[in-house]
Point group: D2
Chain length 303, copies 4
Amino acid sequence: MDFKTILQEIVQDSNTFSSIGNVTVTIPELAKVNPNKFGIHLTTISGEDFGIGDSEEKFSIQSISKALTVALAFSFLDEKIWKRVGVEPSGSAFNSLIQLEYEKGIPRNPFINSGAIVIADMLVSCLDNPKDDFLEYIRMISGSPTINYNLAVAQSEKDTRFRNAALANFLKSFGNIENDVDEVLDFYFHQCSIEMSCKELAHSFFFFANEGKSKDGKQILTKSQVKRLNALMQTCGFYDESGEFTYKVGLPGKSGIGGGIVALFPKNFVVATWSPKLNKKGNSELGMHALELLTTKTGMSVF
Amino acid sequence: MDFKTILQEIVQDSNTFSSIGNVTVTIPELAKVNPNKFGIHLTTISGEDFGIGDSEEKFSIQSISKALTVALAFSFLDEKIWKRVGVEPSGSAFNSLIQLEYEKGIPRNPFINSGAIVIADMLVSCLDNPKDDFLEYIRMISGSPTINYNLAVAQSEKDTRFRNAALANFLKSFGNIENDVDEVLDFYFHQCSIEMSCKELAHSFFFFANEGKSKDGKQILTKSQVKRLNALMQTCGFYDESGEFTYKVGLPGKSGIGGGIVALFPKNFVVATWSPKLNKKGNSELGMHALELLTTKTGMSVF
Amino acid sequence: MDFKTILQEIVQDSNTFSSIGNVTVTIPELAKVNPNKFGIHLTTISGEDFGIGDSEEKFSIQSISKALTVALAFSFLDEKIWKRVGVEPSGSAFNSLIQLEYEKGIPRNPFINSGAIVIADMLVSCLDNPKDDFLEYIRMISGSPTINYNLAVAQSEKDTRFRNAALANFLKSFGNIENDVDEVLDFYFHQCSIEMSCKELAHSFFFFANEGKSKDGKQILTKSQVKRLNALMQTCGFYDESGEFTYKVGLPGKSGIGGGIVALFPKNFVVATWSPKLNKKGNSELGMHALELLTTKTGMSVF
Amino acid sequence: MDFKTILQEIVQDSNTFSSIGNVTVTIPELAKVNPNKFGIHLTTISGEDFGIGDSEEKFSIQSISKALTVALAFSFLDEKIWKRVGVEPSGSAFNSLIQLEYEKGIPRNPFINSGAIVIADMLVSCLDNPKDDFLEYIRMISGSPTINYNLAVAQSEKDTRFRNAALANFLKSFGNIENDVDEVLDFYFHQCSIEMSCKELAHSFFFFANEGKSKDGKQILTKSQVKRLNALMQTCGFYDESGEFTYKVGLPGKSGIGGGIVALFPKNFVVATWSPKLNKKGNSELGMHALELLTTKTGMSVF
């Protein structure tokens, strides 16, 4: 499979793709991004790297970080994390409170905001210095010591925190937050503000495709654990568009409102895309299109 | 009509009424109350007072205060308040977030918590010294200069604030809170902590029954305004049990989880009851029973 | 009170009222009605009649019939009817299935479609010849032997029955329909097709205002029973606009999508209006406006 | 991989598995089944067959038929079917009407009852003799000419049809059913009543695992089409337990309340299990357990 040629074809095709999406406005600091940025990076399981476009420019990974906080919490608590958060698709928007009320404070899955806030609370309990330790973890799994929080973005999220503050307080009212609400939200806003390039993102998620081992050979999770987290990304990784992504692309993945998407074919490759224009569900329009082209052209999907 | 005899009969009957309700536990400071307290006070439009039982002992009026904050906000803003809160029964529990999400941050009515928090926000904007000014207003309409906040109760509400903090942040995320969330909640917790006796409560609500005029003759609201607020109490005053109360008692009224209820027959009388044991909907069991007896025995109801 | 003059003023005022509503299209047969029809009839408790405009022209009473089927079922079953239907406002549209699912087949009240279908099922069980017997009942309470079903309208409702068929089957799946679904719906479509003039409507509802006694002195329900049904109309008579009607008009009443409204001031008068243009909630725009004027001009409301 | 040994181990392990589930009672005819039946059949892509236990005894496939009606509708209408039904997990019970109301009659996916009824309506429109033609299709894809409807089961489903009749009428009220409601339901009840053994089930689904080709080499759907239907089974095949099944088993599949499950590993194998005891979500308890053991022991899952 000649990935280089395929990526070039995808980028060419993207010139004719008329995106009607918009850069997110929910976080003012992110609204400043150039909407025409577009990059793809694919890393094969054997370690080959293929990048094209703006694939080495850093952007805000936002909700993609939720897959990494779950991975870290999973390494501490294993199956115990499912006592406080479910593994089912939500069928609702990422920041809905409705289901949370019906289901008495147990979020449907760790990839909607309420679930991610519960995972953040677990990490605040497990880690000595939550923000420092999590950053160290990200640098370790990615092999990129320069990855960092963007403090202006974290502050911007805090300034517009009200929906997330509602979720966190609601969870606390059901007893599903152990720590101080503000401390948990501070950690959550920082995790969302992490910046990576497509290349760094692909490397960070390498262990999900490689039976738990990072690109430089560290065993981050067990084979069984990454199988389970991949399954979870498949059913829940794209909010209420998870079915659509699975239907069209057929790979487990995770998106963020910064316009990034990471997806992976177990035992084969990891791929990350970045294009800031989002569709109505909050997922990158061009990124989803590019990944659909990728699995169609290569015939490589889990189904 | 011999109200004195009727109140005696009601109290006698209450000895055979086996209440299965419980004192609220949501606010620890209120859980300390003696569950067997029971008082009734009725004031006729001509100014006669009839009290029985623990009718002169102060208790926490809690949500009953919501009718008084609406009255004060109504006097400042008149019909403008309905741009930010509705006049429809909610069909849901008093602290539900579900409808608020579907209806994009406009609470169904000012008597569910979300609606009362919006009204509190209006008062924080309108009043120079919100807490002082509101207390002065209560003392003025009731004619009782000793009415006060219970600071231990207000603190207890703050300590267990998470559901209300979720509501306030959720409202703020929809743009329906103007002031700082913590400042609005601080006012709200104080208004709920006000303590009155049944007698003081009946006097405070005198103007609702007296075409807008207080017991000592001050015009608090216009005749048309109290008509409208009475209508609102009729359809929304008892959370998701408003229909039941209207069906059984047939008077506009308002309840609180401290076990108090105030109800009124326009141009006739105001009556307040207090019994701390609540039914599953959060309304005083014995209080509702007593008021049903009152309208059955007197034949005095608006229907 | 000079009702004749007041009705004339209301009709004059109505010429300047710019209605933006539309005649219902859900039932094709009803869509043929002249949208500019407008009539009012008021009957005082002492038996005086005041009519104006198209007040003696018959129209389809539609959901107003729900108050009359409840009255008849109440006379057979008394409080037992509340085992199968509630007395709370729904907070939802008249034909919603959502609440019914959450509340396991117990409709919120007898005035939303699901509740009325349960009441229809009760009458099918109680009456020997349901359609004949109900018609006889209507003629008896109204004193008008010419009142009849409009079979073309009943057929039109049957032809477009799918939402109501969904409700009836849903109720049956919860065990809250005893009889054959089609038989119950046939009765329900007939009851909705009854035609009356404003005058006949006011006379039919006379006993609600007259402590249970019809215009010609028959005791239709007890004093306590009509008090309770009036309370129910107050909180639930106008679908999810019941709070608004109560707030503005302050009288118990019931509306229908044929454009009719009946309202009453206990021990004082009954009034019926007809104007086919409906607002978004399915209630007659001009009718509500006229009734608001009536209570404002007379100062006569229950609050 | 020695599938024979693995299946034996799974059956042995199942003796120690204490199932707390129950045989379905919703369809009386199905309630008669022996709850202790247990069979597994696995067919590899190369055509090898491995059966154990009651794997050649026929049972009611029920909702598993939904994957086969979608396949047939897909072959007629291709992507056009998604104009009338979605591809997202529902997050709700299989027979819920709530989401259908919010989403105006477009079912979330073809595997919940409402979606399957829409697909049945498509087939009634596309096929000359719907019931005969569908049976012929099933016999063709499975290679088993003896597969048939169980008319007693179909009748039993009709006798207890009310929830499905509510769904079908509700869909019709939104314009998403073209044919007569009763005709569509008749087809639907028949498709659910089909009986197969585990072996026949595995053979019927062979083409899903074999890039669209049946066991005897017919091209039933294109490679891309089966990829998409597999994706859909992965996210939606197990009602509101789809996430759990994906998490634990990691294979696309479909369950039925007759106790059957079919799952497949693309390009590798198809496996069918049968055990009538269902968990609270309506899926076979022992079947899910057996499949989790299978993917754990073999390490063969799509993730």
